[in-house]
Symmetry: C2
Subunit: 216 residues, 2 copies
């Protein structure tokens, strides 16, 4: 079927949100850990974390205006630092619970059954149960005028990771860490690797690579 702009306008808000959120494809699932000057921590699940560049190592996130992770955003602006923690299949239910509208005074760590972990000198809390996590310094913030969403870009400062997940060529086997993928607003998925593929060249057939990046 073909759905055009006129059709889209007739859909109710929730139906439309489910539909449009499904179109971009699979999304990452990450918990954003923050703290404010008063020492109040906050944790919120975000499916909008995306890679921006490796040199310098930059990661972006999109926040909807007035959305649930508002306390997270305020803490990032206040402290200029935060953590990103990959969500695994072991913790996805607790991670999802952090999307509830808790009062500012309540830390979502307890609500989610997750544990704060600290690494000097980073003030923001990591999630102990996450097996791939990193701290960032805030580098850029702008409001996209087109729909008032906020774009936050951070530079990675410290990465905490299970040693054996890093393969010979630097690739991280996030599937081995049970990292999950999200579709739409509320669907969580584990993955099964089909293959790694060789760097594509115009005059050469693609080869399958093993997990370390070597031709099979």
């Amino acid at each position: 079927m073909i759905i055009n702009k006129q059709h889209l306008e007739t859909y109710d808000t929730r139906y439309r949100a489910q539909l449009i959120n499904s179109l971009s494809g699979f999304k990452s699932a990450n918990l954003i850990g923050t703290i404010n000057e008063a020492g109040q921590t906050n944790l919120s699940i975000v499916s909008s974390v995306f890679h921006i560049g490796a040199t310098p190592p930059l990661v972006g996130m999109i926040f909807r205006p007035h959305s649930v992770p508002r306390h997270t955003l305020e803490n990032i602006f206040e402290m200029k630092t935060y953590t990103i923690n990959q969500v695994s299949s072991q913790i996805y239910r607790g991670a999802h619970q952090t999307s509830a509208r808790y009062d500012r005074a309540i830390s979502e760590f307890a609500a989610a059954g997750l544990t704060e972990e600290y690494h000097d000198p980073i003030p923001a809390p990591f999630v102990k149960e996450s097996r791939l996590k990193y701290s960032l310094d805030l580098r850029e913030h702008q409001i996209l005028s087109i729909n008032d969403t906020e774009l936050v870009i951070g530079e990675i400062t410290n990465i905490i990771i299970d040693d054996d997940a890093i393969k010979q060529d630097g690739y991280v086997d996030i599937e081995s860490l049970a990292t999950i993928a999200v579709s739409g607003l509320d669907s969580y998925h584990v993955t099964k690797r089909i293959s790694r593929l060789s760097y594509a060249k115009p005059d050469k057939a693609i080869e399958n690579l093993d997990i370390d990046g070597h031709p099979k």
Copy 2:
């Protein structure tokens, strides 16, 4: 282990690119279909498509400066319209092949073994073999000063989708379309749903939802 900024600086470029590209989590896999005034088509795989908003329906993409999809970017600026086509496990190898540096005169459709499909009045080609695809009008373009990457935002105009993939509440079962997820630079994954979860509230336990969004 902990990897800090000093460690990162000692890594060679490719190792570092593999590592940093793995940190954001699973990514979407999409083929961007474009055409220029002269009628030359172009197709390139992009793992940086992300949801920005549902009202209006907006989707963003990040392009590295001087990267392979440069012809794609030029075509988007020229025609102000393009298509996004989800990559399934049936076409992922051809999709990956589009990342090779082809001359401008060569359309990646043929190289990838994929077929152009047209829907009046949209000039840009869709990928016939893709089971969820949509056209967009260019709405915003900016260069992120932090690392010269280009942010392109489009508004969805027409969605072409298998009817039975849309569930009762508007959620699209992209897993049933064999849509794949990407990790790092070159790893492709199929998915298996753990569950859809109910909207989180502070004082209420999360419930599992069936595929149509009803409590199980």
